[in-house]
Symmetry: C2
Subunit: 586 residues, 2 copies
């Protein structure tokens, strides 16, 4: 097993293989991918499609002197297999050595830690610019999937590339898919180019001022080698458009491309996932139920996603049922928010949905297009929690800092299913404010909740007590409850427990009231402290005698950590907080 692959310690070893061996290598690489992905999951379709092209890249070019930048890293596993990281795929005990994304800490063949889309062309253009200033001549190659092309950053960089005058190679890996189907006018042109073997008169890339070449056989090693040999050391920018098959080599993935873009651990025979998150209630399911019901009875309601309908749990069937009330704008967070603002201005009730880590791509659009204009758009954010996605490129812990400081934006942090659904329903129907709702990252819980949130920044006192007030935001509310219980049992008094609900503002009346019989306010939040929720409360009480202790994460790019260890590291376990309180209060 892995006879050839085991010999590949660097790209130099690829260059020594004959044609037959290259074919065997491809088969072994797929086996290696199966080994890792069946056991721990990861990006499937794009990697299976790029095996042959990646072998050819390393056969023809001289990495790391020649520099590859893989967009969003979804198709970088074959590259990792050929650059000394094979063991992260074939040796089960070494899976954790490989991050699943390109990572300069892992290898000199990687230049950037990348997990957001549409960045490769600009990053590579920077590498090329520095090369030119230095007077060097190496090849710089960006590898980008067709789905990533719809992102503004990619198109800005295509435009810049169209003005460059030195070596620059953009490989467009066209597998006719984003994560789900692609969306947007450019994909009609890509289809035309595929159908005409690259000869269509109208050509997006040429319109950007770029040279262009097409190759249909993206899964044929020899075709790829010939192609790359032709363009190696080219003296100007060129788009190399290759057609590959997403999921190539696994029948289920070739057929159902959307499902197999990324996979949980699975059984190779049946394709069925081998882990289960239980059939219980979850917030995505509740969201989908709300969406389908609301859409049916309110024709002004429209759901907009910047690609990734799957992230919200919207199945193809549901999307079709929503019809015109669903709009996938492609990977294009900026457009998603601006379109939602425009739609709200004209009377629609738009709901934008994506992961917290991605919405920061629309920071300016949220500030300018949306919040200055104060249009009633609801943005529902998933994975805002510290224990959701733990890859450094996908952390949700920066959302409070990013969005609670934008004027006019109401950021809501629900603490139960009832509160979440009431907030959602209130937000979609109100006409006064742009609203962001943070989906709780913990288990679904149930509690009574208010129906209206018209009284902006009104905190809810869930338990009246004395001495210590615990203000526990969003999905840290349950931790606040546990803390309050411990205070009672350990310290012998009943503390006040507050569910602030509004992450973006301060309830001065509630805070003022605490003065009479409290000496310490403790805040808990699910995110970095810096710029977040608790600091605002510390600042409010700053000039007075009230003590305030904020709990949250450090301002740091954590990567692939154990969530509970991290809480301990920042002193946030119930025991640690209790010890702090003891010191301050007693």
């Amino acid at each position: 097993m892995y006879e050839i692959l085991r010999k590949i310690n660097s790209p130099d070893d690829v260059k020594k293989l004959n044609n037959d061996e290259l074919e065997i290598l491809a088969a072994e690489m797929r086996e290696a991918l199966f080994n890792r992905l069946t056991k721990i999951g990861g990006h499937f379709g794009p990697n299976f499609g790029m095996v042959e092209a990646t072998i050819a890249l390393h056969y023809v070019f001289n990495s790391p002197k020649d520099k590859f930048v893989f967009d969003v890293s979804h198709q970088s596993y074959p590259h990792k297999l050929l650059t000394g990281r094979r063991d992260g795929y074939i040796d089960d005990e070494k899976f954790s050595e490989d991050s699943g994304y390109t990572n300069p800490d892992e290898s000199e063949h990687d230049f950037f830690n990348v997990g957001h889309t549409s960045t490769s062309i600009a990053l590579a253009a920077g590498l090329a610019k520095a090369r030119d200033l230095r007077g060097d001549r190496e090849n710089v190659i960006a590898i980008i999937g067709d789905g990533s092309l719809s992102g503004g950053e990619a198109m800005e960089a295509l435009n810049v590339a169209g003005e460059m005058t030195s070596n620059f190679i953009i490989i467009v890996n066209d597998n006719e898919m984003a994560i789900a189907e692609t969306h947007g006018g450019i994909y009609k042109n890509l289809a035309e180019l595929r159908e005409t073997n690259g000869k269509a008169g109208n050509n997006l890339f040429r319109a950007y001022g770029l040279d262009y070449i097409y190759e249909e056989n993206g899964n044929d090693i020899q075709s790829m080698i010939s192609l790359f040999e032709k363009i190696k050391d080219i003296d100007h920018p060129i788009v190399v458009h290759i057609h590959t098959q997403k999921g190539k080599g696994y029948a289920l993935a070739e057929t159902n491309k959307e499902t197999w873009h990324w996979t949980l651990p699975f059984d190779r025979e049946s394709g069925a996932p081998t882990v289960s998150f239980g059939d219980g209630e979850n917030y995505l399911g509740l969201t989908v139920d709300y969406i389908m019901e609301k859409a049916e009875k309110d024709k002004d309601f429209v759901v907009i996603t910047p690609s990734m309908p799957g992230a919200i749990g919207l199945s193809k069937e549901n999307r079709e049922k929503l019809g015109a009330q669903y709009m996938d704008v492609g990977i294009a967070e900026e457009a998603a928010v601006a379109i939602a603002s425009g739609a709200a201005k004209n009377g629609a009730k738009p709901l934008v949905f994506t992961n917290m880590t991605f919405i920061q791509r629309a920071y300016d659009q949220i500030s300018q297009d949306l919040c200055i204009n104060n249009n009633p758009v609801t943005m529902v954010m998933n994975f805002c929690n510290f224990d959701g996605l733990t890859d450094v490129t996908h952390l949700g812990i920066f959302g409070l800092a990013a969005f609670t400081n934008i004027p006019n934006l109401i950021v809501l942090a629900p603490t139960s299913a009832e509160e979440y659904l009431n907030m959602l329903s209130w937000s979609v129907d109100q006409k006064e404010h742009p609203v962001m709702i943070l989906i709780p990252g913990n288990q679904v819980s149930h509690r009574d909740a208010d129906k209206s949130f018209d009284k902006i920044d009104s905190y809810k006192i869930e338990q009246k007590g004395e001495k210590v007030a615990v203000i526990a935001l969003g999905d840290f509310y349950q931790r606040g409850e546990a803390l309050a219980d411990s205070i009672k049992s350990e310290l012998g008094f009943t503390p006040t427990l507050i569910n602030p609900r509004f992450a973006s503002g301060i309830d001065e009346a509630v805070l003022d009231e605490l003065r009479s019989n409290h000496s310490l306010v403790v805040t808990l939040e699910d995110g970095i402290l810096s710029g977040g929720f608790g600091e605002k409360i510390a600042s409010y009480y700053g000039p007075e005698n009230m003590r305030v202790k904020n709990y949250g994460l450090n301002k740091e790019f954590y990567d692939r950590y154990d969530p509970e260890d991290l809480l301990k590291e920042v002193g946030m376990t119930t025991e640690q907080i209790l010890a702090d309180i003891r010191k301050i209060v007693e």
Copy 2:
């Protein structure tokens, strides 16, 4: 004077005019523009170029039922003249009634308050989406200049438009310029389209899946009317590419398009500005001197701007001198930051320059492409101050909240020319950190300053005192000095005065030291308090006895305010702060 224009109270009045009267109206509109712009300045070139097309738009379409969205508002003055806001141009006492940007508070003919580029297509697509859900049929028209097309948000929205199936009109106003010359490959295609009267085989807009029509005579009212009559009520998306002359009707502006994009008040005869900001030193001048000198002696140094080289004071002559060491990526902040990150990774020393309000368009790129990868890029931000640009769309007061909470990013706030230049020089040459430097918004001052900033987050104690410590950030340092002097003279003791220099971190050693003989720490910062600098200090001292009072602006979209009034409103005058201190300390 203004015989026809005075009769135009709404677009309906335009429709009643005959051809001769329309021509007179155009001439009168230019006179009105001259009246306002010679006296108070504003956007010149794009407005003078759009007079005829705007008359035709209002002649043919039925605003506000039909909806216009003007990109970045730079070309919206003629529209304002025809929609009841004439007096803001011809009656000097009413200038202030018109904001200079489209603004729904001013008129039902405006739908968005817009001042950042490249947003019109997405905003208009949202209007169209809501119209379709409602089952209405009005025309929705985005008007965008060629320069704005290079922004990612515009291209994302073009891609979305390419998939729409109902009425949607995108007017591309091609005046062959951004603010300075345009940059990027798409402009070669636009030139080709102009040269072939729209018939070039390769067509950017068709590649986006859009229908397309070209009209060369963008400054001819009748041509424009025929064109718009042809496409009115069209049942699918179309790009209407019109060729206009920037600055049309003023010889100086027709010749020197870059200078006349925006103008100070000026003498119509000579074109010379009638106001002067003095010939004294300013931070832009110091920056340009540094750039030119550094570039000459360090070939790895490269300046990257997302358009607007003028904003940094880089003249055409200087740009030419810099040659390959200057890169204007077009209006494309995301690409600018990512390219800089790539260039730094490959050994270059990139300096990115723009206004604070625009860099937030690259929030995700700063976080992901740059800071996760920790590449040594220097970003120099202009207009970070509350008393610089006071239009709501151009405020610099949100920068501290946006950028001091991103891990790895060092945000430096210099307090004098020496400190600024030393920080700049240190930042460009160091290899450890991404750095953002905030250009002071106050007058250039001179003081000794450290040369190295290797000790990250080290505050500088400028005056050792007792009882009260004043921590005054960046260009509010001089206000801190004044406050310290007042404390001494009014309250009779010498306070400690600290220049923190690092806006993005806390010097725990310095803060810990203050405990021994201070009971109050006062922070001053030039921006909103929420998420900014002072709150971090309040949080640090939260659990202890030290009082902290943070001074800064409210989290609010202020618009066209008097800066000194605003300071008073938020209680930040020296007298107000002194009164607060008296209450807390005594």
